[in-house]
C-alpha cells in the first residue's frame, strides 16, 4: 500500500518538475492577486493590516482552484487515469496520493511565501507565524475538497468555471477560521488556539472523507 502511494506521489512530483512553469504560474498568480489589492483599496497601513488576512485567504482559495483543473485532466486525456482505476489498489488511496502531490506543488509554496505577503500588508510578526500555521492546516483541506469538484467536472467543456461554482461555497469554513485566526492573533495569541484546532479537525475529517468522495466521483465521470 505505501509503495503504491509513494509511487504515485513521486510520479506526480516528477511530472510537475519536468513542467515547472505550471507550478510557478500558480505561485505567481497568488502573489499578483495579493499585490493588486493595495492598488485598489489604497495603501494605508491600518486598512491593509485589517484586510490582509482575508485577502491572503481569498487569494489562496483562487490559486488552489486554478490548479485543481489539472489535477485529473492530464491523466484523463492520456489514459493513465483509467489504468489507475483498473489497478488492484483502492482508488481512494491513489487519489489521496495525487492530492498530496497537488498540495506539495500548490499549497506548500503558498505557505512558504506567506511571510513575504505578510510584510506587504504590514502584519505583525506573530500574525505572520499564525498565518503560516493556518495556511499549513487549511490549504490541504482546499486540495482535498477541491479534488471532489475536479473529479466531478472531469472532461467537461468550461469545466474550470463550473468547478469554481461548485467548490468555492464549500471553502467557506476554511476561509472563516483561517482568516479569523490571523485577525485574533493581534489581540491575544492564546485566542487563536480554537481556530487552529478547528482547522486541524477539518483537515482530519477531509483526509478521511474527501478521497472516498473523489474516488466515487471519478468512477462516475470516467464512464
Amino acid at each position: 500500500m505505501t509503495a503504491v502511494f509513494w509511487c504515485v506521489l513521486t510520479r506526480d512530483l516528477t511530472l510537475a518538475l519536468r513542467r515547472r512553469t505550471d507550478v510557478l504560474t500558480t505561485l505567481f498568480f497568488f502573489v499578483i492577486v495579493v499585490s493588486l489589492f493595495p492598488l485598489g483599496v489604497g495603501t494605508e497601513r491600518e486598512v491593509l493590516r485589517n484586510l490582509g488576512p482575508g485577502v491572503v485567504w481569498v487569494a489562496a482559495l483562487l490559486a488552489s482552484m486554478l490548479a485543481l483543473e489539472r489535477l485529473f485532466a492530464a491523466d484523463y486525456e492520456d489514459g493513465t487515469l483509467e489504468q489507475m482505476m483498473l489497478s488492484a489498489q483502492p482508488l481512494a488511496l491513489l487519489v489521496l496520493a495525487k492530492i498530496t502531490a497537488h498540495w506539495f506543488l500548490t499549497g506548500l509554496p503558498l505557505v512558504l511565501i506567506a511571510p513575504l505577503v505578510g510584510m506587504q500588508y504590514h502584519l505583525a510578526e506573530t500574525a505572520i507565524w499564525i498565518m503560516m500555521l493556518a495556511l499549513l492546516l487549511g490549504t490541504p483541506v482546499l486540495s482535498l475538497i477541491g479534488a471532489i469538484g475536479a473529479a466531478l467536472t472531469l472532461g467537461l467543456r468550461g469545466g474550470g468555471i463550473l468547478l469554481s461554482l461548485l467548490i468555492l461555497p464549500l471553502y467557506i469554513p476554511i476561509l472563516v477560521y483561517g482568516a479569523g485566526a490571523i485577525e485574533v492573533s493581534g489581540i491575544d495569541l492564546a485566542d487563536t488556539r480554537p481556530y487552529l484546532t478547528l482547522l486541524g479537525a477539518f483537515l482530519i475529517a477531509a483526509l478521511t472523507l474527501a478521497p472516498l468522495a473523489a474516488a466515487a466521483a471519478l468512477r462516475i465521470s470516467i464512464e
Partner: protein, 252 residues
C-alpha cells in the same frame, strides 16, 4: 404520503399516477394559500408582539419564513432522492431529485428577496452579513451548482449521478458552513437574527404561517411532479408506452 413508492418506481406506472395527483396538489395549494393569506392579513394582530414590536410590515413573515423552511427542507429531500438513486440505481429517483432542484432554488431566492424587504424597515438595510442570510445565500449557490453541473454534462446517466454526489457532499457541508458563519469566533458565539421559538408566537400568526408552509409544500409537489412528467417523457421517448401517450394526447 401513504403511497407505496416502490410499486410506482417504474416511470411507466408513475407517469399516469402523477398526472392524476397534480390537479389535487394544485387545488390544495390554492385553497391553503388563500386561507393562509386571508388569515395573515385580517386575523392577526397589527404588531409582532412581546419584545419585538414591529408594525404591519412584519406580515412579510408569512412568505419569508415558509419559503426559508421549504428551501432547506427541499434540499434535504433532493439529497435523499439523490442518495436513493445512487444506492438503488433507480432512474426515477434521479429524475425526482432533478425536478426538485428548480423549485428549491426558487424558494431560496424568495426567502432572500423577502428577507431583504423585511430587513430594510427593521434593520435599516437590505442586506446584512447575518449568519442565516449568508447560509441561505450559500444554499442558493448550492442549488445553482447542482443545476449547472447537471446541465453541463451531456450524458444523462453521468449527469444524474455526478449531480447526485454533489448534492450529498453539499448536504454534509451545509451544516458546517452554517456553523462557521454563525460562529465565526469560536471563543464566543453571537448572532443578529432573533432566536426563533415557535411556542412564543401568537396563535393566529403561527396558524397562517403553517397554512402557507403547507401551501408551499403542496406547490412543491405539484411543480415537481409536472417537471418529473416532462423528463419521464423525454427520457423514455423511445419506449412504446410514451409513443402511445403522445399519440393519445395529440388526438385530443
Amino acid at each position: 404520503m401513504a403511497l407505496n413508492w416502490f410499486k410506482f418506481a417504474a416511470p411507466a406506472s408513475f407517469y399516469p399516477l402523477a398526472g392524476r395527483l397534480i390537479p389535487v396538489f394544485w387545488v390544495l395549494t390554492a385553497s391553503t394559500l388563500l386561507i393562509g393569506l386571508y388569515w395573515g392579513f385580517f386575523q392577526t394582530p397589527d404588531q409582532l408582539g412581546g419584545s419585538n414590536p414591529q408594525k404591519d410590515y412584519y406580515r412579510i413573515i408569512f412568505i419569508h419564513v415558509p419559503s426559508a423552511w421549504m428551501s432547506m427542507w427541499l434540499y434535504v429531500v433532493m439529497a435523499i432522492w439523490a442518495a436513493v438513486g445512487l444506492v438503488f440505481k433507480t432512474r426515477l429517483s434521479f429524475m425526482m431529485a432533478n425536478a426538485i432542484a428548480p423549485t428549491g432554488a426558487i424558494f431560496t431566492f424568495l426567502a432572500l428577496w423577502t428577507g431583504a424587504f423585511w430587513g430594510r424597515p427593521s434593520w435599516g438595510t437590505y442586506w446584512d452579513w447575518d449568519p442565516r442570510l449568508t447560509t441561505e445565500l450559500i444554499l442558493f449557490f448550492m442549488y445553482i451548482g447542482y443545476i449547472a453541473l447537471h446541465a453541463a454534462i451531456d450524458d444523462v446517466r453521468r449527469a444524474d449521478r455526478a449531480a447526485a454526489l454533489l448534492a450529498i457532499v453539499g448536504l454534509v457541508m451545509v451544516p458546517l458552513i452554517f456553523w462557521s458563519v454563525n460562529c465565526p469566533d469560536p471563543n464566543q458565539c453571537a448572532a443578529l437574527h432573533q432566536r426563533s421559538d415557535l411556542t412564543k408566537i401568537e396563535g393566529n400568526i403561527l396558524f397562517s404561517m403553517l397554512m402557507i408552509t403547507f401551501a408551499f409544500w403542496m406547490y412543491s409537489f405539484a411543480t415537481t411532479l409536472m417537471r418529473l412528467r416532462g423528463s419521464i417523457l423525454l427520457r423514455e421517448s423511445d419506449s412504446t408506452w410514451v409513443q402511445e401517450v403522445v399519440r393519445r394526447e395529440a388526438r385530443q
